[in-house]
Each structure stands twice: as structure tokens, then as C-alpha cells.
């Protein structure tokens, strides 16, 4: 067995010494045998998650298949997900049997033939083109770094993303061979639901969907609800622009989510799981559907899972374009096939959820941590992070940043370390002016706030939220007022229309911001925004309206002078606003 540097395998993990279900043992053997067979052939892995696709990854994958075919080379070409190095997409990694994995960044289809010929036919990596190298026998050549030594990888602790970009997401055996479903096996072969709940509680895991609610506690609510029909809903709506980590997990390692969901079901006594995704994101949708199908095929879903008495069914449910559909009660309405409008609470989902049955809603990232926590014990998670924010933060960094991408870093790391260190700061020697965090309802932070640590509470104190982990970076060329206007246009468009303070308030705020950007703002406009925001917060049923003033409030706090310049001096200090804008305006009917 190969031991890849920097990645933990299951050796030494408690599961290995405890009793295994027979069913799992045979799955594991099957997977290991397949993995060994694969290791005997040249391997090509190409990132084709949404970020890879947008960089041309699909054409590159075709070119590599063609190059291997033209040479009658029996190579395994896998379309893997996202390693997180989106700046280097299309990212290809080539592996000669028994050799190290060599990563080539920004590969064009034209290069495929040459790389296959040199590296996979002649066995000579093209070091001048290599970005990094990984694995046994990774005798570093020239100044090619190991994968873990890349700036962007240094300091990452990958728990939920442990397999992302490494395994073929379409191959359940590869997931099992790297320790997948060991957590489920451990739970089913020797833990009571109570014990699993305590373990998740002890890990300190808090929800990654926005509200950061302790997951163990949430599960306990559902444990107490009467069965037999109860639901685990997995929220992959992910409408936050700038965030793609939920989709990234589904595209890179969907079984970690499926396993997490089954474990949630076992713990809470739920009978059904629903993975909820936005229609139109074909990659994540197809990966999720295939993962559910394959899990059924291996007896990991359905009746008597792994030969135990536990039965759990799962399906994928799609929703139309709607941001509010990500809100937990609106999500339940959408699963029932209606307009995604939030419900009144109470009753809370644990009492009355989807189809009127007790339900629990968790984000993809939250559930993706669970298999590792159960397989290896709570300290894999609680040993990382800060006092009240345990574990890691899965960030999506986009915008004016040298190395945009997805990373998993320990909680407590400062924004400065993540943005300037790992991601390389703003390109072209510019300065980071502002950050937009936690999705459109999150907030804006000034560029002078980079010493804030990644921690739910510290971020909240700073006036933003960590939320789902999307961080949009802007440099000095960005106008804070213009960005706030775009955020509000998004919020206005996405208001579901149910509560009038949100529906009309968002429209009102958007119009005020538009006139400020056209230099037609008046001195009453800022207090007016505050007043509208306060009514929205007081009079809306869900977080969309309640938090809808956040972007404006936080932008005013850090960039009040810029608003004043637009209103009083009729000028845009960043030179962006010119009185015209092309941001679309639509409203729900």
C-alpha cells in the first residue's frame, strides 16, 4: 500500500482494531484489489469541477483521452473534482505506475500529446512544466515543490476535503479504499445512536450553512421526535455567489456527504435522506445522483445497511433558481414542490418538517466532516481550531486575489494568513481594499481588518459573518458603493416576496443605492437606508429579510466616507461609478 505524504490513511485508526461488519470487510477487500489493479496502470487525473470546466478542463480531458488512444496506451483517465488550486486550472496530474504524481498547471489541450508521450510513454516527467509533485518516490527534481509545500497548500488541514481532487468522484471503490464508509461501519458494528451523537457533540462541530448551530445538539432535537418516518435534509442549494465549496464537495467527493447523511440518519433514527441541489448545476447534480445510486448498489443505502438492522433511503431533489430556497423552511416547501417561501416557526423542523414529518437540515460541509469524526474519534476535529469554533474553515477565495480557489484551513488562522499568505494577496501589487464574506447577506469588511481570525464569533464581532466560507476580495479599483449596490440588487431579485418588509424594503434600498451611484443621492438617503433596514429586520419571517440590511450596514461602517463622497461631492473616489450600470434588474412576480 502506498502512503501518500501529508494525507492520513486509516492505519492506526480505532476502526482498524475494532470489529468490522462482514459486509464492510468484503467491500474493503474488493476496493483494495481494484485500487491495486489501477496502480499498475498509468493514471491521468484532470480537474473538471465547475472551476475546471470554466478554465477548459473538459477539452483538456478529451485531449488526454485522445492522446492515450492514439498511442494505444492503457491509461486510466479520471475526471476528478477540485483540488482547490483553481488558479492553476486546467490542472492535470500524471502518474507513471509506481511513480509519484506530478501536477501540471494551466494545461492546454495542445500540450496533452507531448505530456502523454514524455511522461506516460517514456516515463520522463516534464519537470519544466510541473507545478508540484506528490507521493512515494517523489524525489524532487529541480525546484519542483511537493504538493504540500505549495504556498496555497501550506497550513491547510484537510478533513472534509481530504479526498477532493485526489480520488475519482465517480468511483465508490476509490472512496472505500481510502477509508470511506469506515465511519459508518464503525457506528453500525458497535456504537449506539446515543454514542454517535455524543461523539459529534464532543467534536464541537457547528453548522457550516450560516448560523453555526452546534450539530450534535441539533441532532438531539430530532432524536427526541417520534418516528418512524423522519428526514435528514442535506442543503446544497448554495446560492451564495462567490461560494462553491458545497458544489465542490459534491463534485469531488460525493460519498463523504452520502456517508455523513447516513450517519446522521442512524444517529437520529431518521428513515429518509434528501440531497437538495439547484437545478442547472449539472456536475454536482450528476455526481450526487450517481453516488446515491452506487451506495444503493453496494448495500450502503436501503434495507439492512451493511447487514445491520438499520434501513435508510436517500434521493436527490432539485429546485429551481431561488436563493431563499436555501433557508431551511423554504427548502422544505421546495422539496414538496411548491414555491420556495419560508414557513412560520414554530413548529420547528424537528417537530414538523418536510411532508409534515420531523426533519433535520444540515449543510453539505457539516455532514462531510462527520465520517472522519466517527471513524477516527472527535479529536480529529476538536483538536483543530479555536475554543468555540472547532475544526476547519472551508473557504472559497475569489475576486482580486493572486490564487483564487478553495482551501480548508484551521479555524483561528487570521484572514491575513489565508489571503496574503496562502492565496498570495491582491495581484499586480495592489492592496486589498475590502472583503465580502458569508454571502450577500453576510457583510463587508475593510481591508484593515485582516487580523481578524477565522472564527464564527470573532468574525461576527468584526461585523461580518463567516457563513458558508465564500470570501470575495476587492482591491482599490473597486467602489464600495457600487459593490453594495450589486449585493442589494441580488438581495432584491432573490426576495421571495412573501413578507412585504423584505419585498418592498429590498426594492427601496436598491433604488436608493442606484441613485447614490448616479450621484443623485441626497443627505436623507443614509438615514433612510437605516430606517428601511430596521423595518426589514423587525418584520421579515426569514433570514433573507432579517439580515438583508447587513451588506449596507457593514459597508457604511467601513466605507461611510465613500458613500458621502458620492452623495455630497458627487464623485466616485475609485472612479468606477459613471452614472450608468448594466446590472440586470428583475423581480419575482
Amino acid at each position: 500500500m502506498i502512503l501518500w505524504r501529508g494525507r492520513e490513511w486509516l492505519f492506526g485508526a480505532p476502526t482498524f482494531f475494532s470489529r468490522m461488519t462482514q459486509a464492510y470487510e468484503s467491500l474493503k477487500q474488493q476496493a483494495t484489489a481494484r485500487q491495486q489493479a489501477l496502480a499498475g496502470k498509468p493514471r491521468v487525473r484532470i480537474g473538471t469541477a465547475l472551476c475546471g470546466q470554466a478554465a477548459g478542463g473538459l477539452e483538456v480531458a478529451d485531449a488526454f483521452r485522445e492522446a492515450a488512444r492514439a498511442r494505444s496506451l492503457d491509461a486510466t483517465v479520471s475526471q476528478v473534482g477540485c483540488l482547490g488550486l483553481c488558479y492553476a486550472e486546467p490542472l492535470v496530474d500524471l502518474q507513471w505506475p509506481g511513480g509519484p504524481r506530478v501536477f501540471y498547471g494551466n494545461v492546454s489541450p495542445e500540450e496533452a500529446s507531448g505530456l502523454v508521450e514524455a511522461h506516460l510513454v517514456r516515463g520522463q516527467p516534464v519537470w519544466e512544466r510541473a507545478l508540484a509533485v506528490s507521493g512515494d518516490g517523489a524525489t524532487v527534481s529541480g525546484d519542483v515543490l511537493t504538493l504540500e509545500a505549495l504556498e496555497m497548500m501550506k497550513g491547510q488541514v484537510r478533513i472534509a476535503l481530504r479526498n477532493a481532487g485526489h480520488i475519482d468522484p465517480a468511483d465508490v471503490h476509490e472512496y472505500i479504499a481510502t477509508g470511506g464508509y469506515a465511519g459508518l461501519d464503525r457506528a453500525l458494528s458497535g456504537m449506539t445512536p446515543q454514542q454517535v451523537q455524543e461523539m459529534v457533540g464532543a467534536s464541537g462541530l457547528r453548522g457550516r450553512g450560516g448560523a453555526a448551530f452546534p450539530t450534535g445538539t441539533k441532532w438531539r432535537f430530532l432524536m427526541g421526535s417520534p418516528g418512524p418516518v423522519k428526514y435528514i435534509l442535506c442543503n446544497c442549494e448554495e446560492g451564495d455567489p462567490g461560494a462553491f465549496n458545497d458544489k465542490g464537495i459534491l463534485e469531488s467527493d460525493p460519498h463523504t456527504l452520502v456517508e455523513g447523511m447516513i450517519l446522521a440518519g442512524y444517529t437520529t433514527g431518521a428513515s429518509n435522506g434528501v440531497i437538495f441541489i439547484r437545478h442547472g448545476h449539472e456536475g454536482p447534480v450528476e455526481r450526487a445522483k450517481a453516488a446515491v445510486r452506487d451506495a444503493y448498489g453496494l448495500g450502503l443505502l436501503g434495507k439492512n445497511i451493511l447487514g445491520s438492522s438499520f434501513t435508510f433511503n436517500a434521493e436527490v431533489s432539485l429546485v429551481g433558481e431561488s436563493y431563499v430556497a436555501g433557508e431551511e423552511t423554504a427548502l422544505m416547501e421546495a422539496i414538496e414542490g411548491k414555491r420556495s417561501m419560508p414557513r412560520f416557526r414554530p413548529p420547528f423542523p424537528a417537530a414538523y418538517g418536510v411532508w409534515g414529518k420531523p426533519s433535520n437540515i444540515n449543510n453539505v460541509k457539516t455532514l462531510a466532516y462527520v465520517p472522519e469524526i466517527v471513524a477516527k474519534g472527535p479529536t480529529v476535529f476538536s483538536g483543530v481550531g479555536t475554543e468555540r469554533s472547532k475544526g476547519t474553515a472551508i473557504l472559497c477565495l475569489t475576486g482580486a486575489i493572486r490564487r483564487p480557489g478553495m482551501m480548508e484551513v484551521p479555524m483561528g488562522m487570521t484572514l491575513h494568513q489565508a489571503l496574503e499568505g496562502l492565496a498570495g494577496g491582491a495581484p499586480g501589487g495592489k492592496k486589498i481594499k475590502l472583503l465580502q464574506t458569508g454571502g450577500p447577506l453576510g457583510g463587508v469588511l475593510g481591508g484593515d481588518q485582516l487580523d481578524v481570525p477565522l472564527d464564527f464569533d470573532a468574525m461576527a464581532r468584526a461585523g461580518a459573518i463567516l457563513g458558508s466560507g465564500g470570501i470575495i476580495v476587492a482591491d482599490e479599483t473597486t467602489c464600495a458603493v457600487d459593490l453594495t449596490r450589486v449585493l442589494m440588487t441580488f438581495c432584491q431579485f432573490e426576495s421571495c416576496g412573501k413578507c412585504f418588509p423584505c419585498r418592498t424594503g429590498m426594492t427601496h434600498m436598491m433604488e436608493v443605492l442606484e441613485r447614490i451611484c448616479r450621484f443623485q443621492g441626497e443627505s436623507i438617503d443614509l438615514p433612510l437606508l437605516e430606517r428601511v433596514g430596521a423595518s426589514m429586520a423587525a418584520g421579515s419571517l426569514c433570514g433573507h429579510g432579517q439580515l438583508g440590511f447587513n451588506p449596507v450596514r457593514s459597508a457604511l461602517r467601513f466605507f461611510g466616507d465613500e458613500f458621502k463622497a458620492h452623495i455630497e461631492s458627487k464623485r466616485c473616489p475609485a472612479g468606477v461609478c459613471n452614472g450608468e450600470y448594466l446590472t440586470p434588474q428583475r423581480a419575482r412576480r
Binding site: L50, A54, P241, G405, I472, L582
Partner: protein, 165 residues
Amino acid sequence: MQPRGDTLNATIRKALESHGNGAVTVLSSLLTLEDALGYIPPEAIEEVAHLTHTTVNDVWGVASFYPNFRFEPPCEHVVEVCWGPTCHLMGAPAVMKEVLATLGLNTEGDTPDKRVTLKFNTCLGACAQGPVMSLDHHLVGRLTPQEAGKRLSGVVGMKGNRSLQ
């Protein structure tokens, strides 16, 4: 050629029958039809109401709520341009301007020759490569206005059903 009349009804029924193995709801039926036909014809509204034991009113309520449904036959090609905050910062406004000019449109909608539908999208999920657009569901990132125009002029001047990309 879009199916009509009896053929259309048969297509609708066939699509609805083949529809996944999860719960069958108004929304899941409409999404299935949108995938199969590219739009929701009035006949389909009635068929869905019948299938899900609801009213035409209920089905319209759902169909009109989600902006991804359209009610006229689709154009040959669909172009989606992202205007999400990341893409906005990375230059989406200039890309959008170029796309509108190339297609001869003022805002989202169909070109008069029904070749191209332009849609705005709040996030295509490939933000790390912003600005991003999608050509017949094929993502293209790291766009400049020139690159966007070049990709599109291929479409506008194109004969027949050759795929984009």
C-alpha cells in the same frame, strides 16, 4: 422543429413518466419538462396539474415563481452571463455590454431571429474563473469582452444546429 399538438402531448406524457425516482411533485415535474422540452407549454401545465392532483392555478403559481422556466419554445442556443458580485468585480459589466452588443439586445431575452436566448445568472458556480458565461451549458471563464464577443459571433453567424463550444 418543436413538437406540436398530439405529438407535443405525447412528448409531455413520456417525459413525465420517465421522471426520476424521487418524490413526484409539481416542481419536479416542471423541471423534468423544462429539461425535456426547453420550455413549459400550456398543455404541460394542465398535464402536471392532472398528474399531481392539483389545479392549473397551483402549477402556474410554481412555474411563474422560479425564473428558470420559460413559456415559449427555446431558441437554438442559450447564453448565460453571470453578474454575481465576484464576476462583477472581475469585469462582468464590460463582458455583458459586449454580449448585448453582439446579440443586438438591450437586456436579457431572445434575439429576433430566435437563434439565441440571453439570460442573466446570479452565479454560475465557477467564481474562481470570473468573469464567467455559459454557452449552451458549457462554462467559459476568465473572459475578456473581446473573448466573449469572439465566442458569440461564432453563434450569431452560425447556420443550423452546430453546437457551440
